[in-house]
């Protein structure tokens, strides 16, 4: 079982940020009265409440709502708020960009014509008014390619993250809750976790034909492991608490216990893992593309654009071809990373007041 002590860096990182937020929250809420104010609190400022038989019978009621408090706590975090707005703006823009007027086709090669009408492709033109991000070394418009690439990469990331989420949660809860499956799943996990994840990624992409579907399959094969392990560890911790024991004694079916009693506890872990899966997918995509196992050339992706930029990075006048996609991909990954951590903190009920 020693494996489970290993923990993942990302989880640690999450807690790391969580620590900070705890201390920040504590600072913000310190609204103690100063000695002078306490001095000023004379008895005549307080009025005794009259006894009311009806009020005395009233049952305590709180309008606490888990999700509202989660969003409130999240909204308090200024950096996360700004990043979230920026990220949503970026997402909306990538979706609507092709429908805006004056946009170019990412796969069209633009030519200049000399006086005999002979076409020369506009290669490596620096950013200008016509081509906002310049053109690449074939003559494509980089602006159009960047947004098309962001679309592809984010689509890939969302698909992989949601598959990981579904598979990870299902396997994790079964693994933690059904004792008979524990030994088997632990063995499967050990075997898969023993192999460096890049090796699995490369091997899968190598065996199947390179492309979007292959990438999804190979990233999903390695992706669910982390989520399943976190969920399993949480479930093992809480499955035998008294309230679950009570539910079981009252004859609640196992399925209902899993969904109603266990799952709400796991929201913060799930959110964190899902949000962190996205930077991971983007990183893997850049890496796989470098190995020659990425998307086909006519389907731009951020990984592909970084790789294209890498080829020309040694001539300073063409560096924009690397810098622009690199900035976009870094912005997306870092934002998801920070937002994921902030949301995980916010969804922890201990941070709700």
């Amino acid at each position: 079982m020693a494996l489970f002590k290993k923990g993942s860096q990302l989880e640690r990182m999450g807690q790391n940020v969580m620590d900070q937020m705890h201390s920040q929250l504590a600072e913000e809420e310190r609204d103690d009265l100063t000695p002078e104010e306490i001095e000023a609190l004379t008895p005549d400022r307080f009025v005794p409440h009259a006894f009311d038989a009806k009020d005395a019978e009233a049952v305590g009621y709180s309008n606490y709502s888990y999700w509202r408090c989660t969003f409130q706590a999240f909204w308090k975090n200024k950096m996360a708020r700004i990043l979230l707005i920026a990220l949503i703006a970026l997402l909306i823009f990538t979706v609507v960009q092709p429908y805006l007027p004056g946009q170019k086709d990412p796969n069209e090669i633009f030519n200049t014509y000399d006086k005999y009408g002979k076409a020369t492709p506009m290669k490596n033109k620096a950013p200008s008014e016509e081509y906002w991000f310049g053109t690449d070394n074939v003559g494509h418009d980089l602006w159009a390619r960047i947004w098309a690439g962001t679309r592809t990469s984010l689509l890939l990331a969302f698909i992989v993250a949601s598959v990981n989420c579904v598979v990870g949660i299902t396997v994790g809860i079964l693994w933690g809750y059904v004792r008979k499956l524990d030994a088997l799943l632990t063995e499967v996990y050990n075997i898969m976790d023993n192999i460096p994840r890049t090796i699995i990624l490369i091997l899968m992409s190598y065996i199947l034909r390179a492309g979007m579907l292959t990438m999804i399959i190979s990233m999903c094969i390695v992706g669910w492991l982390g989520m399943a392990r976190f969920i399993r560890n949480q479930v093992v911790m809480i499955r035998d608490r008294d309230y679950n024991l009570a539910s079981r004694c009252l004859g609640t079916p196992s399925g209902k216990i899993m969904i109603r009693n266990l799952l709400p506890y796991l929201v913060s872990v799930i959110m964190l893992q899902t949000a962190l899966a996205i930077p991971m997918v983007l990183s893997d995509e850049v890496f796989l593309t470098y190995c020659g196992l990425g998307m086909p050339k006519n389907k731009p992706s951020l990984g592909g654009l970084v790789e294209e930029g890498r080829k020309v990075m040694m001539s300073p006048s063409q560096r924009y071809q690397l810098i622009i996609p690199a900035v976009v991909v870094t912005f997306i990954t870092v934002s998801f990373y920070l937002i994921g951590n902030a949301f995980a903190d916010a969804s922890d009920p201990r941070n709700h007041v």
């Binding site: 075997i191 023993n194 190995c291 990954t333």
Partner: protein, 315 residues
């Protein structure tokens, strides 16, 4: 102790067996051009059959698998390269490369440990102050941004800025600097982060409060109480990382053209040399497994409280 070691050893061997077998079968399921190159359409069926037979691929999978294991276990033979260096035994190709990867990886690991651990300790000691925040920002960036991207920027700007040569040359140690910087950056971040985390965990424990209440000097609490406890979980990862340096970093070695194991894997994948891929994956997977095994053993040696019995491993 012996029983525990034996049990862990058996399970490690079992994992290895499954990995190798599954991988072997998967590699046999590739489309034909995976074996014979892109010109397969132009070959006649007889040529294809002859080529497959020459590589021993015409037999059923389980016969091939048995032969592979027989060669491996009795002769230490991993087969011969198909394309990379045709018909040269894989072992001969790999041998000189392991040294290079080990050297670069070893140096960068030393660098990472000597920078990362003190960084984590310093961050934990100044928790919540600017030094801690700066360190956290650094760690977040290194962890979140794709390494494939910032390595390129290091390569692009550092070569100009410090007049450092871009590509690796085994004769000139000055060319080693950039690959080592790239190799150690992620490890610095991860060592720093773990160290900080474990130190902070330990600081909140009751025994630290007791030591403070007794009047033990702050410095002594840090070194002989907190550090000793915080370093235990770190120890577990060290043998694994050391062994994994043998496989080198796929990406770093490749972009700086370091002639090591990692670059080799990418190279043979791009050239579709199946025996090489198979041998390298076998080696990498076994490194991972042996590293984990040694890490667990180290833990047991370093921390006398860890119990070897399965029932008590409930933490």
């Amino acid at each position: 102790m012996l029983k525990y070691v034996l049990r862990r050893f058996c399970s490690a061997v079992f994992s290895l067996f499954i990995i190798v077998t599954v991988m072997f079968c998967l590699l046999r399921m590739m489309p034909l051009e995976g074996y014979l190159g892109p010109n397969v359409d132009k070959m006649s069926p007889e040529v294809i059959a002859a080529k497959l037979a020459a590589k021993g691929l015409d037999k059923p999978v389980h016969v091939q698998l048995a032969k592979f294991y027989k060669d491996l276990l009795f002769h230490g033979d991993l087969g011969r390269s198909w394309i990379f260096l045709e018909n040269v035994p894989v072992v001969d190709i790999i041998e000189p490369k392991i040294g290079v990867s080990l050297k670069m990886g070893g140096i960068s690991m030393l660098v990472a440990l000597t920078i990362g651990m003190p960084m984590g300790i310093a961050m934990a000691r100044s928790k919540g102050k600017w030094a801690d925040k700066l360190g956290t920002a650094f760690i977040i960036f290194i962890q979140a941004a794709p390494s494939a991207v910032y390595f390129l920027f290091i390569q692009m700007y550092f070569t100009g800025l410090f007049k450092l040569p871009m590509l690796y040359d085994s004769e000139k140690p000055v060319t080693w600097i950039l690959p080592i910087v790239c190799l150690s950056l992620p490890s610095i971040a991860s060592y720093g982060m773990w160290m900080r985390r474990y130190m902070v965990d330990q600081m909140n424990q009751d025994y630290v409060k007791l030591a403070k209440a007794k009047g033990v000097p702050e410095r002594k609490i840090m070194t002989s109480h907190i550090f000793r406890n915080a370093v235990v979980p770190m120890v577990q990862t060290i043998p694994g990382s050391l062994l994994l340096t043998i496989m080198g970093s796929l990406y770093v070695e490749s972009i700086f053209s370091v002639p090591g194991m990692g670059g080799l894997l990418i190279n043979v994948i791009q050239r579709q040399d199946n025996t090489m891929v198979q041998a390298l994956v076998l080696i990498f997977a076994s490194m991972g497994i042996i590293g984990l095994f040694l890490g667990d053993l180290m833990m047991v040696i370093v921390d006398p409280r860890i119990s070897l019995n399965r029932g008590e491993a409930s933490r």
